[in-house]
Assembly symmetry: C2
């Protein structure tokens, strides 16, 4: 199973040889999974971070009233993990599921440790990724608190340009915190503006 | 200006001597500020993280339509920073303002570097703080997407037990993403349940 995205993800961001990443990759578990396969169930434990080489995952939770919300989509080149489980030894808050047939690389702490030893700049890079993730989550909170349905939708299109065509519209609505009817209305309004 | 909270924040979480933290503290700027003082204006630049020794801050943004939302409150022992400005050289997304007369310690990169050199476990600790912050923001997104006004309120009370009495109810409502009327109704319902 070739993983060119995985190798490029690290070589394009870090001062590391392709052969070194390739060696590390060979020590990682890789999973070819079918659409709807659940990599992690809410309440289970996993120490892995999943890198999406090919396909599409979603991270979602059901609350006590059975209402589902989608925390994130993860298309190619995205990383996804449940932090409660991976870093705080608690049952996972989220389920992680394939929305398409996918190829996933499982990253664990030993991979991180080896990369840290190999690449002097890795700790700083990882830190930057974490700060950037915080920034992104803060933006999303801002959108949920004070943006219109249209603004949320346009932000989504910018962040996940191709996901929109790959998932049911009900999931996009769930991610945005709007009803499927609002989403449909917003899309029509935008199409109408473009055609004017 | 004594800063016992600041010193305890580090000595209770890291293997570091009080005298060492005290030395580092003496190299930090400390600000005594009045209620309503703005430490950082949206659009400005600041490389600082603010530690609240005494008092209470809020971090908030106005969107293009003039709608305000509150990202966080920061009472004693909390850290607050604008990540776009501090880590990504972009204009700040948020304003940071005092809601009470406050004493604030300004932390900069040189403080972090010195602490990293002094305390071998600091990098891992800081990493854990970042992951925990991500967890907290994800929880908040989950609450905004699928929790009732009552659930959001109860979560707020748990996280900020004393802030509730220190800020106007309109700000609590703004943080929760509900109307002041909903907040008032929820509080009455909870008081009613308790008195039964």
């Amino acid at each position: 199973m070739e993983c060119p995205n995985f190798i490029r993800f690290f070589t394009s961001n870090l001062d590391v040889q392709e052969s070194d990443v390739s060696d590390l990759l060979n020590q990682c578990e890789r999973l070819t999974i079918k659409k709807n396969y659940v990599l992690l169930n809410q309440g289970e434990f996993s120490k892995h971070t999943f890198f999406v080489e090919k396909g599409l995952l979603r991270q979602f939770a059901l609350n006590e009233n059975g209402k589902e919300h989608i925390l994130s989509f993860a298309p190619e080149n995205w990383l996804v993990t449940d932090r409660d489980s991976a870093y705080f030894n608690q049952p996972s808050i989220y389920s992680i599921q394939a929305l398409e047939d996918s190829l996933v690389v499982l990253i664990d702490q030993s991979f991180i440790d080896k990369l840290t030893q190999l690449v002097p700049g890795f700790t700083a890079y990882n830190n930057r990724l974490l700060h950037n993730h915080i920034r992104h989550l803060q933006d999303r909170i801002g959108l949920l608190l004070s943006a219109t349905a249209e603004e949320r939708y346009l932000n989504f299109v910018q962040m996940y340009p191709d996901v929109l065509m790959r998932v049911p519209q009900t999931m996009v609505a769930s991610y945005l915190g709007i009803t499927p009817e609002s989403l449909s209305r917003v899309r029509k309004e935008i199409a109408h503006k473009k055609s004017e």
